[in-house]
């Protein structure tokens, strides 16, 4: 429940332009009624001007400033006043416009700062959450390894024992197969939770992208999709474990293919892109962009796509680990993944990895 003061303030902010226009007219009337020359009254015009440009934007602010100038001029038109006073009022109008501009700029700047801080905090929170999930995932995978091994091993023994009935052997073969599936999931979880460095070499991102897309061409054809790999003019060299980066690109391309049930084009390109570092110094990154013409990602899902086991794919189509694993790998390489999606138009993933050397 809002307090009365908060409610009034909320109303003023929401209807800043209307309130400012009314206030300007009221000040104008006061100005006209007092009928004095350049006075404190004229300073009162500044309040609605600042109000409008701060909360309603640059143009409404300018409008109110001009209105204030007109009011100031009108209130001075009185048979006995000389032209100097009117010129003065018009000068006031100029001042109002300048103030309106300044207020709008300042507000723009403050808002941008706040937004950047907000985004940074959100990213940090997101990264922290994924790190926590990664630790949990690694722990779970770790603990499951031995019991799973016992289950699979026992089932294997039952399966090869000729003394057992067919039913027992069929059943144990099923257990073996299912434990293999579980093992695969655990492998992915481990990849997501893994921290530290594997063997990294200087690799050409474009070459890695080429080998990833070539592997998926058959899959793409089957789903009436086409992969267009725009070859980079120059090699994009990054220090990375190429098998891992290839896995990331494959995951993204596969997602892109699956996001287009009626087929379409997956565009892949590598290039060098500039991004601001944590301390806002520009830094060059090797980037791989994977774009599709698919259904896009619902805004509500965007913040969860990197969470383990989050998937919008049908049963059996995906485990919800592909993007988590990719995130883990890229994060491990000191890079980041950007996603830009419009529902109904497609999605663009950008993998950024620090350039080598």
């Amino acid at each position: 429940v809002r307090s009365a003061r908060a409610r009034i303030w909320h109303f003023i902010v929401r209807h800043a332009l209307v309130v400012a226009v009314l206030a300007t007219v009221l000040v104008g009337i006061a100005d006209w009624a007092t009928g004095v020359d350049v006075t404190i009254v004229q300073l009162a015009y500044l309040a609605p001007v600042v109000l409008a440009s701060w909360f309603a934007g640059t143009q409404p602010g300018l409008g109110v400033a001009i209105l204030a100038g007109i009011c100031a001029a009108i209130s001075q038109i009185d048979g006995e006043k000389d032209w100097m006073v009117i010129a003065n009022a018009i000068g006031c109008g100029g001042v109002f416009i300048v103030v309106a501009q300044l207020a709008a700029r300042l507000h723009h700047y403050v808002a941008r700062e706040q937004l950047q801080r907000h985004v940074a905090v959100e990213q940090l929170r997101h990264a922290e959450r994924l790190t926590a999930i990664g630790v949990l995932a690694a722990g779970v995978a770790h603990e499951l390894g031995t019991p799973l091994n016992v289950i699979a091993g026992t089932a294997e023994l039952l399966d090869i024992d000729p003394g057992n009935s067919d039913a027992v052997r069929r059943g144990s073969a099923t257990i073996v197969r299912q434990t293999q599936k579980l093992s695969a999931i655990i492998q992915h979880l481990l990849a997501f939770g893994r921290r530290g460095s594997g063997t990294r070499e200087v690799v050409d991102l474009d070459r890695v992208a080429t080998s990833a897309t070539e592997l998926l061409e058959a899959t793409a054809r089957k789903r009436k999709a086409k992969i267009e790999h725009e070859v980079a003019a120059e090699p994009v060299r990054v220090r990375a474990a190429d098998a891992q980066v290839e896995q990331v690109i494959s995951n993204l391309v596969l997602n892109a293919i699956q996001a287009m049930p009626r087929g379409g084009i997956v565009r892949v390109r590598t290039c060098v892109e500039m991004r601001e570092d944590v301390d806002r110094t520009p830094r060059a990154f090797g980037s791989v962009v994977v774009e599709d013409e698919g259904m896009g990602i619902a805004p509500a899902d965007l913040s969860r796509i990197f969470d383990p086991f989050f998937t919008t794919k049908g049963v059996g189509e995906g485990t919800g680990l592909g993007l988590s694993v990719s995130y883990g790998i890229v994060q491990d390489h000191g890079g980041s993944i950007e996603v830009d999606s419009r529902e109904g138009y497609g999605t663009r993933f950008t993998v950024l990895l620090p350039l080598a050397g």
């Binding site: 091994n149 093992s183 893994r194 530290g196």
Partner: protein, 143 residues
């Protein structure tokens, strides 16, 4: 190096039959399965349930406790498999070793590479243990 299930020994050295193999694993059931499988291949298997027991066994029966292979779990109560490996390697023991772990962290993999100890990741299919053990015996000893 991580031993793949598909790894086939390229050289039939040494024979698994009559090999003396230590299995140190804290889970008795997994230990039992591995031991049974190795026994079926003709090995003489010594089972222990902790790193300390493995260490005691090795130090009591110098040199190398006559072992042809030591299969050690990484995570065990008390001494870890890696600590047992350090001990083995510092006492100039060239016993081939195979490390079992569910979570081959990059640091652990690097360290095992340095020590020439292959890793077998859990869960592994039981029927591969013979081939993997042979591979480990081939890889070991050159440290």
């Amino acid at each position: 190096m991580t031993v793949e299930w598909e790894d086939e020994p390229t050289r039939e050295y040494p024979q698994l039959a009559d090999a003396r193999v230590l299995v140190a694993e804290d889970d008795p059931e997994l230990r039992g399965l591995v031991a049974a499988k190795l026994r079926a291949e003709g090995c003489e298997v010594i089972e222990v349930g902790s790193g300390q027991a493995a260490l005691d066994l090795i130090t009591e029966h110098e040199p190398r406790a006559g072992l042809d292979l030591a299969i050690l779990d990484f995570r065990m109560p008390g001494l870890t498999g890696l600590e047992v490996i350090y001990f083995l390697r510092t006492t100039d023991c060239s016993t081939p070793i195979l490390l079992l772990t569910a979570f081959p962290e990059p640091d652990l993999v690097d360290e095992c590479d340095r020590l020439n100890v292959p890793i077998l990741q859990k869960p592994f299919p039981l029927h591969r243990i013979g081939a993997v053990a042979k591979n480990a015996m081939r890889a070991g000893g050159d440290w």
